[in-house]
């Protein structure tokens, strides 16, 4: 990771939205990623595959207002999060497709995941002559470069946590420049008890395997990682369901060789003990090696008590309306099983922006969506020139 002086790309290095060279560059990254064995890289490779990019382009054209010419905003300054390795590629890729020039500030000591993705991107950028206009670098968070780039860029994309968003947002940007922020978010799951209990053993195992992704990827620390499961149903069925599902999720994690560091194991045990004292806990299962579970009898504010590393809270709700009193603007992803799209659409309408930006099936919690935290990223990365 080089951190020498940055040569800010010039305006004439911008490209047309969905330029051929941009699509080709991403295609190459896609093939490189699809050769990896790690799920998050495979997912990235899949998302960037030529057919997907082609579809994105068709959607983009279809959604472009008539009489408007989409153009890049200009220079994009990206500040991705440290806790999720591949997010930086997704947001950068969309910005490249938008035609922007890009500067991304990566962590000083990128972990293996970031390095691998960066390698692939660098190879492809070099090959397509896009290295000067797509810079990945590092400089400290208190470096004046942050202020310089904030003042020079046309769009600034800040990924959390809250503290970082606050700090960077405070740096003045050019008048007319746009800031997109993705602060700390909180996510959870809702399952219908009757629907769950009517699944066969094999179907339950498959659901647990999908839930594994939502819970355990990124050590349950991503903003989309589910922290709580709300069970819609009655006593005592919901306890039967939650115990059963928990066991299967733990089995799914074990069979995938999920490793919990010793200190995390201790932290989860401590968390459960503290919860038992502070919250209305009915029961807590603390002996499972990968998944710690806490069953609560009443709604509680769990947002400040994130532990991660495989710890789930369980609560019962009578119906989806009960969820509404829980929802907070910090809430991002709701994964579900056993609900119809119409029920969930009705929920979104009733919530009317109070919280929850995505409602997706269990297993898709960490899938990167074009519309993220309520922002249509691609559309936010371009401007429209009106021609009449």
């Amino acid at each position: 990771m080089k951190s020498e002086a940055i040569t800010v790309p010039s305006a004439n290095q911008r490209l047309r939205p969905f330029a051929d060279v941009s699509c080709a560059c991403l295609s190459e990254i896609s093939s490189l990623m699809l050769r990896e064995s790690t799920p998050q890289f495979i997912a990235l490779g899949y998302w960037l595959r030529p057919a997907a990019i082609a579809q994105m382009r068709r959607d983009f054209i279809a959604r472009t207002p008539s009489g408007a010419v989409p153009v890049p905003r200009g220079l994009a300054f990206h500040l991705p999060p440290t806790n999720v390795d591949t997010i930086f590629i997704y947001s950068w890729a969309l910005s490249l497709l938008a035609g922007n020039t890009n500067i991304t500030r990566l962590p000083s000591n990128p972990n293996p995941g970031v390095r691998r993705a960066l390698e692939a991107a660098s190879i492809s950028l070099e090959r397509h002559g896009l290295s000067q206009s797509n810079i990945f670098t590092h400089f400290p968070s208190d470096s004046p470069t942050n202020a310089d780039l904030s003042a020079a860029c046309d769009i600034r994309i800040i990924w959390g946590g809250d503290e970082k968003v606050r700090r960077v947002s405070a740096l003045p940007s050019r008048p007319g420049a746009v800031t997109l922020s993705f602060p700390d978010r909180y996510s959870y799951t809702v399952v219908d008890v009757r629907a769950y209990l009517s699944l066969t053993e094999a179907e339950r195992d498959r659901l647990a395997a999908k839930a594994f992704n939502d819970i355990f990827l990124f050590d349950q620390m991503a903003c989309s990682s589910s922290q709580v499961i709300y069970w819609r149903g009655c006593d005592p069925d919901w306890v039967v369901s939650s115990d059963d599902f928990t066991k299967r999720c733990a089995t799914a994690a074990l069979s995938r060789d999920y490793q919990v560091a010793g200190a995390t194991r201790m932290a989860k045990f401590s968390h459960a003990n503290r919860a038992a004292i502070d919250l209305p806990v009915e029961a807590a299962e603390v002996l499972d090696p990968v998944l710690t579970s806490i069953r609560l009898s009443e709604q509680s504010n769990l947002r400040e008590r994130r532990q991660g590393g495989g710890l789930l809270h369980h609560l019962r709700i009578e119906n989806l309306e009960n969820l509404e009193s829980v929802v907070h603007s910090k809430d991002q992803t709701l994964t579900y099983f056993g609900f119809s799209t119409s029920e969930l659409t009705a929920l979104a309408e009733r919530l009317n922006g109070c919280g929850i930006d995505r409602i997706v099936p269990i297993g898709e919690g960490l899938q990167f969506d074009r519309i993220w935290d309520g922002h249509d990223l691609l559309f936010s990365l371009v401007k429209f020139v009106v021609v009449r």
Partner: protein, 361 residues
Amino acid sequence: MQLLDRPQFSMTQLEKESLLIPALSELTHIHRDRCPPYRRVLDAIWPGAANAQCLEDLPFLPVSLFKTHELKSALQSNIRMTMMSSGTTGMGASRIAIDAETSRLQSLSLAASIKTVLGPQRPPMLIVDTPDVVRDPRLMTARGAGVLGMMRFGRDHVFALDKDMRPDTKSIEAFLERHAQAPFFMFGFTFMVWLYLYESVTDGQLNLENATLVHSGGWKKLEDRKVDNLRFRTLMKHRTGLKNIFNFYGMVEQLGSIFLEGEDGALYAPNVSDVIIRDLRTLEPLPPGKEGIIQVLSVLPRSYPGHSLLTEDIGVLRSVDSGAGGRLGKAISVLGRVPKVELRGCSDVYADALSARTSAA
């Protein structure tokens, strides 16, 4: 109580357990009645707590709980003092509420342990610390409590360091002038003993031939100097003639229950205590020879539910009823703390290669 009356380390593991299990079960009941937060923990996490048939079935609390919550089983008016640990894990200090009864039992147990290395005498004592550490009894830290507790076993006390933590050479020399020809007692924290009785002096400068040193604190701080127990002993003996050295493992959460070093180098559980090593992942009890997290049990804590605690230390069970130096019961070695880890994201998880069986998201 029998456990305190019998000579230290004289009971077989079986005998100990026949006394410890009912005593610890009773403490679980007492603390459940008198400490509401503890009751909540038992109800939520340990439904079968009342029926513990063996040590391994007894519920245990994480030591960190004493840092975040006030857990006491006595009326505030009966609390004589509140101990505070040094908060080495960066999480803040443990607060331990001690009443008169607990304090009395702690002293008795400590005396029974120290008697095995000092005999019935009360020798002159050199404390490898500063007098400031015991200044205000109301602000007692683990270090202060340790020193104060040990001071009862010596007389004509001299502190080896001044209030600025510098070796008080004059006092040390005067002490040795007066007492070095006969048995005397020394106590200090491992790192400080090394710094001030080894690194700060030259060969032969101090004559510690007749000293008995009791020390504690762990080897972590001496890691970069590559000093472990063996080197400590060898080098101290070479430089100062010191040969009677006894390391111990203890904690502010179970004061008075010290695991004292035996002639085989292992740390022996006192009569009032026991120890279980648990697998880091499953928390299952482990047999001798397998490394895991140390759980300590002690019948001393009466005013707070600290009778069964999961520590943050890694250790291994070395022997049960070894008979080395005439000692029975369990003996452990302490290997260090659980390594700190920051939950970052997927890097470590994926480095362990989740298989391609996982369906792509």
